[in-house]
Symmetry: C2
Subunit: 613 residues, 2 copies
């Protein structure tokens, strides 16, 4: 057995005992220190930068030499993914740690949804007759004879029934989901009936604990998707399974399940609901997340023609997935996917916005690393997916971060720059909405040209204040615009950041254009654009229009709808009818594949420019 | 880690490395040396007697002192269950080893059954279209779209579908059982379709490999039920689970599954059929065996009111049971039980004999440790179970053994004794049918009185030959009648053996009487008695009538029907209609509980006597 050494991670002071030779990134993961390793541990994103305080590590890598100056290396700067532990070690994380709790509850939900609570779970209290020599009916049959004869029993439950019936003196509550007897409880427990809706994001997993009797969400919780250690986006996760043919897929499956378990624990702890009273869960996510959850290889989606392993809805017991906290017989339903990059999360958005039933012509967009776009008009419902890139989530931006304390979320510029920072603390970086704001303002003021280039101060419009002009810095390789200068550091957006945003907005805009062209729809015909997700909650319609992300429509027609995907998962949890609607959706939807579409390439090339069309 | 020592078992020369301190009985079990430990390792049955040839063991136990003389102990006689291993040891087994292969194929089957092969398994060959950017249907959906939309996929299979489809170039055969897609195979494999019917006996497990296209049984195999190490009969097995609350049930569950796996291996090896081509299995057994298979406690059946944990049919995947050889998604169906001591094996007998549909009045009996009795007359169908005891299977008889090489199976007595021995070898012991023969002959000749007592030679009828008379031996405690005297040993039946047989036949006869009384039926109204099982195959109607096991009817109305239970399992495997009939049977049957029935006690007391009524 290998010798063990101790690694201590500051500032959280988390400790872990690991075998000598393990990489620091793995050690951090084991210790529960979540690192946003965007590149999947290849040393290219620099997001896992840290400082060695004590102990010794394997040698400096070429990736580190590229990233750090000689002085920085001497000061002990390292990348966690590049170093292996040789002895007891103390490390200070310098990267933005992903907090464990990042879910922002939906706000600004456009839709006041009402639907009937009509769950597939039924609980029935039975006062069974006590067996006697004249009534030798078997224990299980004594219970099932109260139901239709088609009911099947969960085998693990069956093992408990004989002792349970006697303990309960034959006064029991049965729990049936569809045609499965999944639980039997002592006494009358019919008033306790819960379910959980999960939204499995590439970055974080949100869960909603729902009282299935009155349909109320009684708690929500989230956790960072533990798969993050193997790459920040779906493409790196697919690559990880491909590069680790032995066990890579299994490992990612286990990590997402552990994340689900973590969310379950939080939900139960916060509410005091017993795990035995949770009978069913629904799950949504993008198609790759769905595949990783089921342990099905997503490799078919990596290259054309982008074929998923499955699309239709799957259901079974949580023990089949490996969930450990809930009772094994708890039922799960994974909602259907539409295509390789239009997952059940989009099905959730359509369900929650009722996009397929709205009168008129509506766009719905859910922008993360991928932009999922749906366009409904009359009886037609089109979807597409477009590689929005990481800019909208603040990743791959030099000082990008998610919308958490220290992130610049809003930027106004007049005589000088005015910032809104999450938590009202000193700015540490900038999130997607802050970037969009800043670029929109700089475009409006002429600091950025329509091709995206940052002007030299002397090229800027004359009416621009000196305070603003002085924030423009030119270096040999790059230009940048400084938003904040503090004692120790500054926060700026670089020319490269603007290019990343251009690529992202170009892809989304081109996707929208293509769907609209498909249905011959002009911008003025759009009744509204529904913007789902956290991105939608923080955006300012004027900035979004300013950078040309959306077709030019009146600002008040751009409507954030909150976490519509999660809402869809809750609806499918509470209502058989809504679940059926979700299952029927993929057949109704016309999916447009953009990746090899020539019209798309042309639109994309055009949409990269900030020139308003 | 404990030190390991080697134990060698002669005459089979099987070796096993075990930790110091393990009991020899466990070691024998681990080594695959099957010991018929009737008492479940308590030192009371003496069936695990052996001789220590080399090495040293823990001290002589009080059970051994009771069983062996001082001289025998000095010679090294031991009970395997009473001794622990202290160093490398060599042991010679003296008890009858149960051979690994004990199943005798059904013979003398009365019924020429014809039924339509109508299996729930369907195989379909598909030439699927190859995906393209214009046809992005997911892999699973591409297959399932060829079927009804209700089909569900096995999750383990789902993981393999993406790579399989590509490897097979989209030419695949799907396997659907009911509404479950359980397999997908490369190319066209529609002509290969197999299933296995299992008959789980308390003593041995038989399996029949069936070609489900033409309905032919292509191989049968059996193995000793490995649970035997924890007791020979269902009562000792129940006791074992009760005495070993931690893990006893789990251990018995595992042992029967290992036995099933052993049978599967034999069937596949004998036929060359690939395990991937076996899609469904049916299982029958007595109610206790069914419970142990499912891991459900049988304790409710140990005492009045004798309530089973379940009675209805159960189905699922073999991986739920823990079977290891067959593919995990292979479906299983465990046929329904009727009552605590009338199991799915009786359902199989009724199915195979079509007892519920025969015109007239028929008895069916299946005699093992328990006698299961069914009486059909008109629209009524009654069953009961009676504790036949071990005598009919040759257990608890001083020199009892099963019908295997060395067993006396037939006995004729005229001027002297004439024996028929399995394998035509020197007699080693006597099996159930031999015992019945011998007792019937000795009753006929007046050597045994109608109360069961062996007469002294001088009390015997004068016409009895001296050769026969001289075989009567009287000791202080016991009398016996010697059937065979060899160089080394003799084979005899003792007064105690006759008493055991009287108890057994009394119980069966009383059960029959009670059912007949319930329907007001006299012996002369019986159209026939169908005798199922191995017992039926070897019996001689005149001997059976001679000891008064059955009501007095003409000899040609006593009809052996072979392993009807196994035939029933095959029918349920091959035909959905027959399976449905099996599932409907328990509702039709009127079960008569004998255990606390006063009429039964009176009948039983009377039926112990050999006096013809």
């Amino acid at each position: 057995m290998a010798d063990l050494v101790t690694v201590t991670f500051l500032p959280t002071d988390k400790q872990i005992r690991i075998p000598i030779g393990m990489s620091l990134l793995e050690a951090a993961n084991e210790a529960g220190v979540q690192i946003n390793a965007v590149c999947g541990g290849k040393g290219s994103c620099g997001k896992c930068r840290a400082k060695l305080l004590k102990g010794s590590l394997s040698e400096v890598s070429s990736a580190e030499k590229r990233l750090f100056s000689r002085q920085q290396l001497q000061e002990g700067l390292i990348l966690l993914c590049q170093r292996n532990v040789l002895e007891d070690t103390e490390i200070e994380n310098l990267a933005n740690l992903l907090p464990n709790e990042t879910y922002t509850p939906a706000k600004g939900n456009l839709l006041d949804l009402t639907f009937e609570v009509d769950t597939p779970v039924s609980k029935t209290f039975h006062q069974l007759t006590v067996p006697s020599i004249e009534d030798q009916v078997a224990d299980l049959d004594r219970v099932l004879n109260e139901h239709s004869s088609l009911i099947k029993v969960d085998f693990e439950l069956l093992k408990e029934i004989p002792s349970l019936l006697r303990k309960a003196n034959y006064r029991v509550t049965s729990v049936v989901v569809n045609n499965d007897l999944i639980a039997l409880e002592e006494g009358d427990t019919t008033v306790e009936l819960y379910g959980i809706a999960f939204d499995i994001g590439t970055t974080s997993v949100a869960g909603y604990l729902v009282n299935m009797i009155d349909g109320k969400v009684i708690a929500s919780a989230s956790a960072t998707n533990r798969q993050g250690i193997h790459g920040a986006d779906v493409i790196s996760r697919i690559a990880y399974t491909n590069e680790n043919k032995e066990g890579g897929l299994t490992r990612l499956q286990k990590l997402v399940v552990e994340t689900l378990d973590e969310v379950v624990v939080k939900l139960l702890q916060r509410t005091g609901v017993s795990k035995e009273r949770v009978y069913t869960i629904t799950l949504i996510g993008n198609t790759v997340m769905s595949h990783l959850l089921m342990g099905v290889s997503p490799i078919g989606m990596a290259t054309a023609p982008f074929i998923p392993g499955f699309a239709r809805s799957l259901s079974g017991c949580v023990r089949d997935l490996g969930l450990k906290i809930l009772v094994g017989s708890t039922r799960f339903v994974l909602l259907p996917n539409i295509a390789g990059y239009v997952g059940s999360d989009t099905v959730g958005v359509i369900l929650a916005t009722q996009l397929d039933r709205l009168a008129g012509t509506w766009l719905a967009v859910d922008i993360g690393t991928n932009g999922e776009i749906a366009l409904a008009s009359g009886s037609r419902l089109l979807t597409c997916s477009t590689a929005a890139g990481p800019a909208f989530e603040g990743a791959c931006i030099s000082q990008g971060m998610r919308a958490e304390p220290g992130a610049i979320v809003k930027v106004d510029i007049d005589e000088d720059v005015h910032l809104e920072v999450v938590g009202n603390v000193e700015p540490l970086g900038i999130c997607g909405s802050g970037l969009i704001d800043a670029v929109a303002e700089l475009l409006r003021l002429g600091v950025i040209r329509s091709n995206g280039r940052i002007r030299n101060p002397e090229e800027c419009p004359v009416q621009l204040s000196d305070a603003v002009k002085n924030r423009i810095r030119r270096t040999e390789r790059n230009s940048k615009f400084v938003l904040y200068t503090g004692q120790q550091h500054e926060v700026a957006i670089t020319q490269k950041d603007i290019s990343e945003l251009q690529l992202g907005k170009g892809a989304v805009r081109a996707g929208i254009e293509l769907l609209m062209k498909e249905l011959d729809i002009e911008a003025h015909q759009l009744d509204g654009i529904l913007v789902a997700g956290a991105f939608g909650s923080n955006l300012r319609p004027e900035s979004v229009r300013g950078i040309g992300l959306f077709p030019s429509i009146e600002l008040n027609r751009i409507k954030p709808v909150g976490n519509a995907a999660g809402t869809g998962a809750i609806m499918a949890l509470l209502s058989k009818k809504q679940l059926q609607a979700a299952n029927d959706l993929p057949k109704r939807v016309e999916h447009v594949e953009l990746s090899l579409n020539k019209g798309f390439s042309q639109s994309f090339a055009k949409a990269i420019s900030f020139q308003e069309r």
